[in-house]
């Protein structure tokens, strides 16, 4: 069976007149962690946000090419944007819980999607928090505000919030950049475990992180994808000179 869950084909993107992505083509495989690395401003976040079409909330954006999820072009007019974003979840750079209780944070999307049954909601919340490795820390204080948690816990809460939608793909944009080393370690552990059930695409500035976590790595440079391969190969034996320069720190 085809393991390629996402197929990006010749994707270009403009913010107004400036092009941010140029003819990107790559495939992302199921139950793998794909890392996207590259220098600042090369279009990593932009690319990530094209996968759940969040990039479109900026009005000046123009997009060409296609992204197929389960062989459906998500830029097709007939796509249900709301369902797409439930299936492709996202975790942001800075932890951004809602100013609601821990419980309400996780239950938020389910409630909006029409789940009213209390028992069902409880089940969703517990399951999501467990998967996000947060349950043991918060089970006694579900009614406290999400803001009462530490930064690392907040980020895991955001993961749990996305997991409550039962997504297939989780996009993460530098999820550890606002966290201390210990919290980073815990989140990395979590991401490793997520891969058993989910497909993860993670943008990171930290090359060790990409090397530690990911199965595949894509290197972006000024809006283009330079190279994508098995992570091990990218970091030991890249094909492209520019990739080598970047990962050995000779870049710039």
């Amino acid at each position: 069976m085809d393991k390629r869950i996402i197929k990006v084909n010749d994707l270009s993107l403009w913010y107004g007149k400036t092009q941010a992505l140029q003819n990107i083509s790559l495939d992302i495989e199921e139950n793998e962690i794909t890392a996207i690395i590259g220098p600042s401003g090369c279009g990593k976040s932009t690319f990530l946000k094209t996968i759940n079409r969040m990039v479109e909330i900026i009005p000046s954006v123009k997009i060409e090419g296609s992204i197929r999820l389960f062989d459906e072009n998500i830029y097709d007019d007939s796509i249900n944007l709301v369902n797409l974003r439930s299936i492709v979840g996202m975790v942001f750079q800075k932890p951004n819980p809602f100013p609601k209780s821990i419980y309400e944070n996780v239950a938020y999307a389910s409630k909006r999607h029409g789940i009213r049954d209390k028992a069902k909601l409880n089940e969703i919340v517990e399951k999501s928090l467990k998967q996000a490795a947060l349950w043991d820390e918060v089970k006694g204080r579900l009614n406290e505000s999400g803001f009462s948690l530490s930064g690392g816990q907040q980020q895991r809460l955001c993961v749990a919030r996305a997991l409550a939608n039962e997504p297939q793909v989780i996009l993460m944009d530098e999820p550890t950049s606002a966290l201390d080393p210990i919290a980073t370690g815990r989140l990395e552990e979590l991401i490793q475990n997520l891969k058993n059930k989910y497909t993860v695409v993670i943008v990171t500035h930290n090359m060790q992180q990409a090397a530690r976590l990911s199965d595949k790595t894509a290197f972006f440079l000024s809006g283009k994808m330079v190279e994508m391969d098995i992570t091990n190969k990218i970091f030991t034996n890249p094909k492209n000179k520019k990739t080598e320069d970047y990962i050995t720190g000779r870049f710039g």
């Binding site: 942001f92 951004n96 809602f98 919030r161």
Partner: protein, 289 residues
């Protein structure tokens, strides 16, 4: 030579400091003097009867109860109309609008509406609501007029409240697969509400103190009863003060009542403003982001 220059420099800066201090003190003195003047002269007129009684003996005795109630009615009705409209317009401007021509026109209109003199609103209200739409001079005509007048205040305050809600809430909401409206309804409005409430109370206070628009559209010189419906005319504190201060045929007799009315009016306006400040303060303290 250098010394001389230094000296004149010093003198110059002293002049500026003295001048600005003088004018600052002048500003404060005027405020304090006005307030003390009103309190000292008005406090004697104020009694339980003054607040709860109707005017008696050609307004030379009795109280101002109908004027208080009338002001409460007209200001509340005003806010009831302008707050939903104003908040909705602010939601459009802050949550939906991109930089289109229509948005620029809306913003231009808001700025211009806020510069239209209150008496012109009165004239407009008289022309459209009272005369053309046949509402007559009434509570409703006055409230509609004041509502249009207060719309720019409500919109501006509401937009500020919406702007204070972090964008990350909106992004997270959309990224979780909820609709734009759900995001606004559940992740933006609840957190903008305290700011909007503050703005609405301020609008209420301003509407309650307005005189010119209601003179032309519905305020009554004297009514022995409270307005029974929105089609009735009404007495209002600011208009009542105007009458007692300048229009009454026995100005000497009603002067104490005028002082009392002025004090009640200003106390009410200041109280409303204080409520708004407390609302804002409490919201800020509770705010977690």
């Amino acid at each position: 030579m250098v010394n001389l220059k230094e000296k004149s420099k010093k003198r110059k800066s002293i002049v500026w400091i003295v001048l600005s201090t003088f004018f600052m003190i002048a500003t404060l003195s005027v405020l304090v003097y006005f307030l003390i003047f009103l309190i000292r002269n008005g406090i004697n007129a104020i009694s339980w009867d003054f607040i709860t009684d109707i005017p008696r003996k050609n307004m030379t005795e009795g109280g101002i109860f109908p004027a208080i109630v009338g002001t409460f009615y007209v200001a509340s009705l005003t806010v009831l109309i302008s707050v939903p409209l104003g908040i909705s317009a602010a939601i459009y401007l802050n949550e939906y609008a991109s930089q289109s021509l229509i948005v620029r026109l809306i913003r231009l209109s808001i700025r211009n509406l806020s510069g239209v003199p209150s008496i012109v609103y009165g004239l407009f209200g008289l022309g459209i609501f009272a005369a053309t739409l046949g509402l007559g001079t009434s509570l409703l005509s006055s409230a509609l007029t004041l509502a249009i007048m207060s719309l720019p205040w409500v919109i501006t305050a509401s937009e500020e409240a919406l702007k204070a809600v972090p964008n990350s809430f909106r992004e997270a909401g959309l990224a979780l697969g909820t609709t734009k409206w759900q995001t606004i309804r559940f992740l933006v409005l609840p957190y903008a509400l305290p700011g909007m409430a503050t703005g609405s109370v301020l609008a209420l206070a301003r509407a309650a103190g307005e005189t010119a628009p209601i003179i032309l559209t519905g305020a009554a010189f004297f009514l022995p009863h409270l307005p029974r419906s929105v089609n009735d005319r009404f007495m209002a504190l600011p208009y009542h003060l105007y009458i007692l201060a300048t229009q009454h045929n026995r100005l000497d007799l009603v002067r104490p009542l005028a002082y009392g009315t002025a004090l009640v009016l200003i106390a009410m306006v200041l109280l409303l403003n204080m409520i708004a400040i407390v609302l804002r303060y409490r919201a800020r303290k509770k705010q977690e982001w």
